[in-house]
Symmetry: C2
Subunit: 567 residues, 2 copies
């Protein structure tokens, strides 16, 4: 009881911080980078410079982090759409049942190389262990009654209704073509450039019309950039110029704006941004690494250009910038160079995976006059937190939504938390200061096969993180039957089509101490059966409570067991 009172007391204490923003509504820029690894910049998000950090020249990301607060434990879903729809809906992806990326065309599941780019939907085969789960394959919808979507009131619509001039530039990817969620206009954006159902750009090259040529075209050709066709310009630069153009109107009208600057970079295709490539090649990085780094620096320049624009227009002191990535870097693409599956070092694996390489992302927030500069907060934060956080930043209150909001308002964490950190040099902000429990349950669930070949490090994983402990549920390894080796209850990897990763042979439930073992190299489940049991219970309860999408075991016709059923 005492702690409850204390908690309520702290909430009462917290309220005034937020109120201040109603006087003069701040502009808000949400700067989102695609498929972008946690260590893929010179910024040390947890205060440690890893070898990867040294490969990148990103002065503007560094500047933003120095001006504001960086997060060492910002998380995103393993793939694009779930993160983006969580941000826009405030819902955890397990509850929205949008757990995978939405394919280009409506009603085509993307699981295991589904309908992407209009290609043939993956047909299940006799030798498959799982059937794909039921999930909202068409993504998020701002309109009720659209099949296979989660209906929600989009955060941006509330911003617009509160007087914000809302601008979308870049990748949307909340829903499949043929549904209302495919266009930013229906999500509450007043103006939109490029945004549609595409999850990647067909080409970054102006000279290739960004994919708009008869040879290249598919649904991921980038729209709205006709003026740059045939020109020697990289997509990152083109959409930055478009974004600045779009800002002119609200700035001239002195309207508060929300700019969703949603870069296509650094998603595949990995293409050279010629402006920056040589620097990395000269440094000795391989071709792929240099290409990828050049794309990263293009994004960095975009951030710098936008910050310069704010200065030029004298609105920098009233503009919040939130910098984030939609999921971890892709560690399964040869074109990025380096060593496959190791590209997100020090983190394990990458995009698609519930290992930290897939879900831990860079994040910085600069809130002029509010954030204590150069601070690092260790409290974990989630994509769905962006919904109440951004609305609170904008002073939008008492709004109604058709959905229940899972995200938590991070404003106190950002403002009071950064001040606490500046004072105490301790990134773990107490809940009494921030309203956020540092031990909050971090849940990610990926009941899908990402690509045509089964990848044990990526596919059919769930995870729950509580403080320093992380449980990973390897669903494939939990299947009973012919594939299971009865001597150890595990699935011989040889049973599946896969690209074998040497040394990986895990049980169904893996436990890591992520504080001591950032690379999740040492499964300590056997030594900590109680912790496994505790986390398995939490994870299972959350999955059950949300009627989570679960793969179906073909041999039994039943869903894979809940993790606690294995114990």
């Amino acid at each position: 009881m005492k702690s409850t009172i204390k908690f309520l007391g702290s909430l009462a204490l917290l309220t005034p911080v937020v109120m201040q923003s109603t006087a003069k509504k701040p502009n808000i820029i949400f700067f989102l980078v695609d498929d972008y690894g946690w260590a893929d910049s010179q910024v040390a998000y947890d205060g440690v410079q890893y070898p990867n950090n040294k490969r990148f020249h990103t002065p503007n990301m560094q500047k933003l982090a120095d001006m504001g607060v960086r997060f060492s434990h910002a998380y995103a879903c393993p793939v694009s759409t779930p993160t983006r729809t969580s941000m826009l809906s405030g819902m955890n992806s397990v509850r929205s049942h949008i757990t995978n990326w939405t394919s280009m065309a409506k009603d085509e599941p993307s699981d295991a190389v589904g309908g992407a780019n209009g290609a043939t939907v993956y047909q299940e085969k006799e030798e498959d262990v799982f059937r794909r789960p039921e999930w909202n394959i068409n993504g998020l919808s701002p309109v009720e009654g659209i099949a296979n979507t989660q209906y929600a009131t989009p955060m941006v619509r509330l911003l617009r209704d509160a007087g914000y001039y809302t601008i979308h530039v870049g990748k949307a990817h909340w829903a499949s073509a043929g549904t209302p969620g495919a266009t930013p206009y229906n999500m509450g954006f007043i103006v939109s450039v490029c945004g549609n159902n595409a999850g990647l750009p067909k080409s970054y090259r102006g000279k290739e019309n960004f994919g708009n040529t008869p040879e290249l075209w598919n649904m991921s050709a980038v729209q709205d950039l006709t003026q740059y066709y045939g020109q020697d310009i990289f997509l990152t630069e083109a959409i930055t110029q478009e974004a600045l153009k779009m800002l002119d109107y609200p700035v001239s009208q002195k309207k508060p704006f929300y700019l969703y600057m949603s870069h296509f970079a650094t998603h595949t295709p990995i293409q050279k941004d010629k402006r920056f490539f040589d620097y990395y090649a000269d440094m000795g990085q391989d071709e792929g690494q240099s290409k990828y780094a050049s794309m990263v620096e293009g994004v960095d320049k975009s951030l710098g250009d936008i910050m310069q624009y704010l200065q030029d227009k004298k609105i920098a002191d009233n503009t919040i910038i939130i910098f984030m990535a939609d999921n971890g870097g892709n560690a399964d693409v040869k074109a990025k160079g380096g060593i496959l599956h190791k590209q997100n070092g020090p983190l394990r694996e990458g995009k698609g995976s519930c290992y930290d390489g897939g879900i831990r992302v860079p994040m910085s927030v600069y809130w002029p006059g509010k954030t204590a500069s150069g601070t690092q907060i260790d409290t974990p934060v989630l994509p769905e937190d962006m919904f109440p956080t951004i609305l609170n930043m904008a002073g939008v209150k008492n709004y109604n939504t058709v959905q229940e909001i899972d995200g938590q308002d991070l404003c106190h964490l950002i403002v009071e938390g950064s001040k606490f950190v500046a004072k105490t040099k301790n990134g773990m902000v107490p809940q009494t200061i921030s309203g956020i429990n540092p031990q909050r349950e971090i849940l990610f669930h990926y009941p899908h096969q990402w690509k045509i070949t089964y990848k044990p490090e990526v596919d059919f994983l769930s995870t729950i993180i509580v403080g320093d402990w992380k449980l990973v549920y390897v669903m494939m390894n939990a299947v009973e039957g012919q594939h299971v080796d009865p001597s150890n209850g595990m699935i011989p990897l040889e049973s599946y089509m896969m690209s074998p990763v040497p040394g990986i042979r895990q049980g169904a439930l893996e436990l890591y101490n992520v504080k001591e073992d950032i690379g999740e190299a040492k499964n300590v489940a056997a030594a900590n059966p109680e912790k496994v049991k505790e986390l398995a219970k939490i994870l299972s309860d959350r999955l059950r409570a949300n009627r989570a999408s679960m793969p179906i075991v073909r041999s039994t016709g039943k869903p894979v067991p809940m993790p606690d059923e294995l114990l």
Copy 2:
């Protein structure tokens, strides 16, 4: 001197009419229909019901004409881009040297099946009589220094700068891809849906993703409509819904808006709008005619839906609607049914041509509280007039432009002119009332070959209209040399690749009395040599003064002669 004083006096008298609009800025909707014939509605624009009018059911166009004022002699250029760029720049197309449509890709002349849709640019052949003229093949540019463009301050930018919320929906087609003019955003539009460099929609069908499929795609696939992909919706309907969505923001903000509702219909491809097709088929019209009429009625519904929206939002009494077409109906497309080259009856020929079928277009204006309803004005009006007219309607004054404006402000003609007509029942409004000389010189110049096959009724024509008299200069017939029959100074049609039109064998200078001979069937040049000479002089002087683009005669390397050089 006396007449000058009188004219100045009338101008002074005119001024107050326009001033009134500054109190409460009116909304303005410019509703533009593509390739749309003068008689292709139930509206009798010159008060006469022609057989063609009876084929169409367009109650909303009729309603608009009845509410406001219709123009019997509204003109547009023979093809799309010159009209559209004249509207946006206020320049006559002869002076801007944008005399033909701009092709999809930069630096590819569209003359004689130039680079449309990325197809091979037409290569001149040994047997060609002409080389294509120099002209601004890349169209209009709001930025200086872009090769092969006319640089101009776009009217919409001035509207925006004056506080108008400017919305573009539909076809743009002012400039080629790869130049700034390819996108409405650079022309002053705050928000844009679909607008780019395309001159036509690849498909009107939502089920075909409006051309966005691997099989169909080319640069004329319609952008920004991903949400409708795969759905059974016609493009006309989709962009109307988008337009109404875009209006919600300025209406909610009580901002005056300018909506450029620029329909793709009724341009090719001629496709059935299923909602309306049966009515026409049941009437006994052929398949093509019924398809075309269904597209027209789709446009009519769009107009009706927009008018209904204005009612619902209670802004109808402060919203001006200008209805117009960008050129005459296409009379050279089999898919429209009927008889080729006769589809614009009672007018001769169609799109591309300087005969009236190509240049005389429907036009109505409703200005609440200002236009006298149900009136018909016979004073000729031009596309470039839209520039000063719309700015004056919006109360925008003292603006600066980099270009000289050729267009004349029609506000007095519309307001005082319609009242004069209502009173006198005489559509010829005196200049003292309107500021517009009813005998003003109407000039159109098409020094191009439209399609791969030479068409004497369309290609290489100029015209000057003054009052009831119209001179047509048939450039091909003016070429001296091997192709000319010395017995009559004319070119035997057999000399050219062409689809022969029976009975057409004209001299180089044709004269028509368009009041008595609306179909331009009787060349009365021989009987009126003085009128021919007078008009040839006016036309030639205008062409010379503007250094007009003229085809080059291959055999001599010189431009075709000016019309007065033939006499």
